[in-house]
Symmetry: C3
Subunit: 468 residues, 3 copies
């Protein structure tokens, strides 16, 4: 399947083979940036930034201009049409009737998906709240691959704000898909969220070892680890690794160090910010002198604040400016592919260790809603047309993943739409913890946000209504 | 006369024949949007938005890009050069020396006319306060015409905020000019302003029937009417229509329903907003099921808030997204014509029911000023060079229409510059209500904003100085 | 040396011959603006405005579009990436990897130099705080030259805000370089800063006569002068001019009058603003009737406020709109040259009366810092990588000029790094006022911001430590 007319909302929208083909095209374009000027003549890209981001926006706009296309641009849109109460879907339909492709950054998680659903033209997610930022991930991967020739089997450390930094979430998934081992080193209080870790282990099938800061294994390291994600691509690692062999593994050093800044704008209060800053890991000359980092390339999505010392700028291992530079050919390749101005060769056999999982979808209107306040489905202007929908990603505990923002909820009560048909007396609800969750067939499953909710729908507690 | 080098400040700047020719050109362009790419190569459009409006701006910029031209763009300019105290005229002259055509949106009513007066290049009004927004009107008309093949004789309902919605003012004039019958259904407190109604009846020669909400004729309708404008194009309607025949007329249904949102940003206080919202008419599936609406196309200038239900989006009668889409070829055609890149065929015989009226102009500096606080001529930075000017649109009562914002004033006192020449004793002023207003020849007419004002100019009250 | 790949940070970055060659190219381009459309096809200009300036930005963007190039644009960037704490250097490196040329406006003085140092592509300073705005100066000079055929020997008056108006600083230097005589007429409290006057007399070798407002020589003039800068190009003026001959000189009239507005945004308080406004010189019809102004062209960088009457707009001597218009071909020529799309003929023999002075550089880290709070080197985000550097422009008193913002500081203490080598007892510091400043060889000079500072570096006061 070609890429023309598709959208890139999350990194999972591209297969590994497609990503590799995209990289090859970017390679070709980077060689002669100026010869791509006829590829998208007459095409228009809408660049819609509801959140400030000069760097990402200019990178996309540069890419489109280098392809010969035109750009219409709306910056800080939050202050304009939103103030008039317009919905994301309406905006998408209107702009989709102007432009040939849309690039969207939005503070609401899942907004890019809504735009893609309604625009009628290819849409690229340039960051939706704390959710995803897939083109940044492409740039990150591309830079690592150019430097290290492959991703597979690499040891890659993610440092800093692993909680709010959306770039590290997408990157972690992508690294897992390409078979890298990941070392997590979070600033305290900014650890990788549970749902990301769950996705890594359940969908990409690797193994996650978590540590206390004072664990013997990790406390002596130049940097204390929170966790290590062991890719299934190195089969021996699938065995339960004793401390000793982990020591050996760690001693091999780090191939790439991905540093992120503190996402101050997403912290709640000044107090919180202050505390975070004190404990934030700093990458500098001294650190890079340690033998584990001898051949480590340093990446950073920029802008940096204090976590990355200026003295490293002249170090040949520093890749962060190159990373920004490579964003242009990557985005050129992506835009050209989505617009159908270029086609990629038939993907070779998939090398991914995971096939995208197909989960059952829960779409009933039983009052279950995403509880993420930043989710697009939770917004006043969007509720009128967005129906909550979830993937049922686990039954024990019952876990629903919002199809918009990927946040997970754990509803307490369930029922079957089948058993009670016509017979009021058998309208019973059960605890989602009970074994009933497996007895009800997916197409009959009803899920409630609370017992009260279930009762409002006319259900009475069954003997399995109490959590066990 | 061709359109090259002309400006579009109000919808009246185009004759009916020119509008129809513009529509034909838009038809041709819409067929092959991508083949227009050479028309305006090397031309530059300045897109100056002193008020937020992502949608309209992007539509214009898309149009220029599809023509192969370039765009320089200033958004939220209100916060930049205006802060330095620059006048609209200076801005117009400077930008006019950069660009080949200017698109301007400005909060001051009449600002687009000032830009057109000073820029030296064609200017398109993209909305000046609550005054006019002629390209929106062109899109509205064009959409109706494409769906219904003609405007003449159609029954078109205007709903919602008829007071602050500038798009409905321009549209009402245009519909009258093309011979449509208009049904007004205002939210309470947001009725069509008097000056618009006056213009409709005096200049476009139709007849306006106004109703109380509880009138028998209208209260049973699916929607209560405020007023109906009967076009002179259906001659029988010119007769005094008894309730019965109006009933028959109404039973014929509505060809197009034009819905507008509450212009919250122009309301004075939150309290006012709250009240308005409660009574605002809502268009939904249920309404459109009524037989009067069976073949009604639904239009809306967007953005919508709650007045138009999302459930209608899939209804084939919904035209609002198509309306936005058609804005691009309409604006392409307009830009190409004003830049002289295209010419229109010689207009056929005018089909308008009205020829633009030629009113006498009042230009004396006797202290009469426009009382509209949003008028460009009333602004501190503009007073230094803008001289108040008015059209004398009526003598009974004496009515002056500001040439900038079209608002009307009713000055109380007049005098003649002729009778008293040299003889102080005969310097007398009269009430504007008296028959003297018809005795003084237009070229001698002096008009004062108050008796005090007249006296300050050395006049004494005549025996006709009291209003009768 | 060609201009390709060079930057324009201050007007001194161009030699007189280069400026004249640039003017010739602008002349050619102005004749056929539309034929330049192929010169910069495929090139991208980044237009980065950290301070609002619609006019200048649109002028640059127009220029690039007329050359066929593309523009990526970031307006009010201050509110975006800066909020994330990014440094100017990082921003420059990233944008420099996207675009082929950068135009930067920034509130910090010296910021454009930092961008030029790091971007890796040509950079044009579009105004850095109150420091320089060299392309405005080029437009000013170009307009005068087009009207008067030459700059040499002209009498040019600078009026208004000579303190905060960065355009008049650059212009004064340029006029001096081209051999004009300058009449200063500042609004009270807004006199030309000392460092500008010092530069005029020391580097451009002219002579500055300063006056009290009530001096006989100047008080009878249509406008009271603060000072007159006599160019060395008219040799007789180098003699000490008695009042009488100055009278004669002044009677010759003014060739050009350069008016500036009050830079309200740089004033500290409302009170200050009010006071300034009362005394601000106004240029109007009445003034221009005086015989000294009979052939005076009137210039203004715009926007104007009240200092320039609208009644002058129709006067053929008014050049301010033409000045804005000529900005486009000037900027086209400049961009084309820096991008190497055009080359200038080998400069003729330099006609400048001054060769750029080569000052010794002071780069030691002895705690001496620029005291200008607007200097880029003084900003929190920039201190991490910018090392203070100064030109030693005078020894008596010891004067250091910041290489970023050109502000001057007068450090009180000095020492020699040579004399005390190894011998702690001879580590002595001296007053910068003493003759020691001339005895220490530049390469050994150590400079301290205070006696305390010197002592902190281990020096003790010498017998020359007290200022004499």
């Amino acid at each position: 399947m070609g890429l023309a007319n598709r959208s890139l909302v999350t990194i999972d929208d591209l297969s590994n083979a497609e990503i590799e083909a995209l990289f090859s095209l970017a390679d070709k374009m980077a060689v002669s940036l100026e010869k791509q000027f006829n590829l998208c003549q007459g095409k228009i890209m809408a660049s819609l930034f509801f959140e400030p981001s000069t760097r990402t926006r200019l990178s996309f706009e540069t890419a489109m201009h280098r392809l010969g296309g035109r750009v219409i641009s709306a910056v800080n849109v939050g202050e304009t049409s939103l103030a008039k109460g317009e919905s994301v879907a309406d905006m998408a339909r209107v702009v989709g009737s102007y432009a040939d492709i849309i690039v969207i950054r939005h503070p609401w998680e899942g907004a890019a998906k809504v735009v893609a659903d309604y625009a009628g033209v290819p849409v690229i997610n340039a960051g939706d709240g704390g959710h995803e930022h897939p083109t940044q991930t492409l740039c990150d991967l591309y830079t690592i691959k150019k430097e290290k020739k492959t991703i597979r089997g690499l040891r890659i450390a993610l440092w800093g704000d692993l909680k709010y930094g959306r770039t590290v979430h997408s990157l972690a998934y992508a690294l897992a898909r390409f078979g890298a081992t990941i070392h997590f080193r979070a600033a305290s209080g900014l650890e990788m969220p549970d749902y990301v870790k769950r996705k890594l282990t359940t969908e990409y099938k690797g193994r996650l070892e978590e540590y206390e800061t004072l664990d013997d294994v990790v406390k002596e390291r130049p940097f204390p680890l929170d966790a290590i994600y062991l890719t299934p691509s190195s089969p021996h690692q699938l065995a339960n690794i004793p401390s000793v062999s982990l020591q050996i593994e760690l001693a091999k050093g780090v191939d790439a160090l991905y540093v992120t800044r503190l996402q101050q704008e997403r912290l709640n209060a000044e107090a919180e910010e202050k505390e975070m800053k004190n404990d934030y890991p700093v990458v500098d000359k001294k650190l890079l002198k340690k033998k584990e980092f001898r051949e480590t390339v340093v990446l950073h999505p920029l802008p940096r604040v204090d976590e990355l010392a200026y003295e490293l700028d002249v170090d040949p291992r520093s890749m962060y400016f190159k990373q920004a530079e490579l964003g242009v050919p990557i985005r050129m390749a992506l835009i050209a592919l989505l617009l159908g101005a270029k086609e990629i060769a038939t993907p070779r056999k998939e090398e991914s260790f995971t096939q995208p999982k197909e989960y059952a979808l829960y779409q009933r209107e039983t009052g279950v809603r995403c509880t993420n306040r930043q989710c697009v489905s939770a917004q006043k202007t969007e509720k009128g047309y967005i129906k909550p929908q979830f993937k049922i990603v686990s039954c024990r505990p019952l876990t629903l993943r919002c199809i918009y923002c990927d946040h997970e909820i754990f509803p307490p009560c369930i029922a079957s739409s089948h058993w009670h048909e016509g017979r009021l007396v058998s309208k019973r609800y059960h605890s989602a913890d009970s074994h009933m969750v497996r007895k009800i067939r997916p197409e009959h499953l009803m899920i409630f946000a609370s017992a009260k909710d279930a009762e409002a729908h006319g259900f009475k507690p069954s003997s399995y209504a109490q959590p066990n």
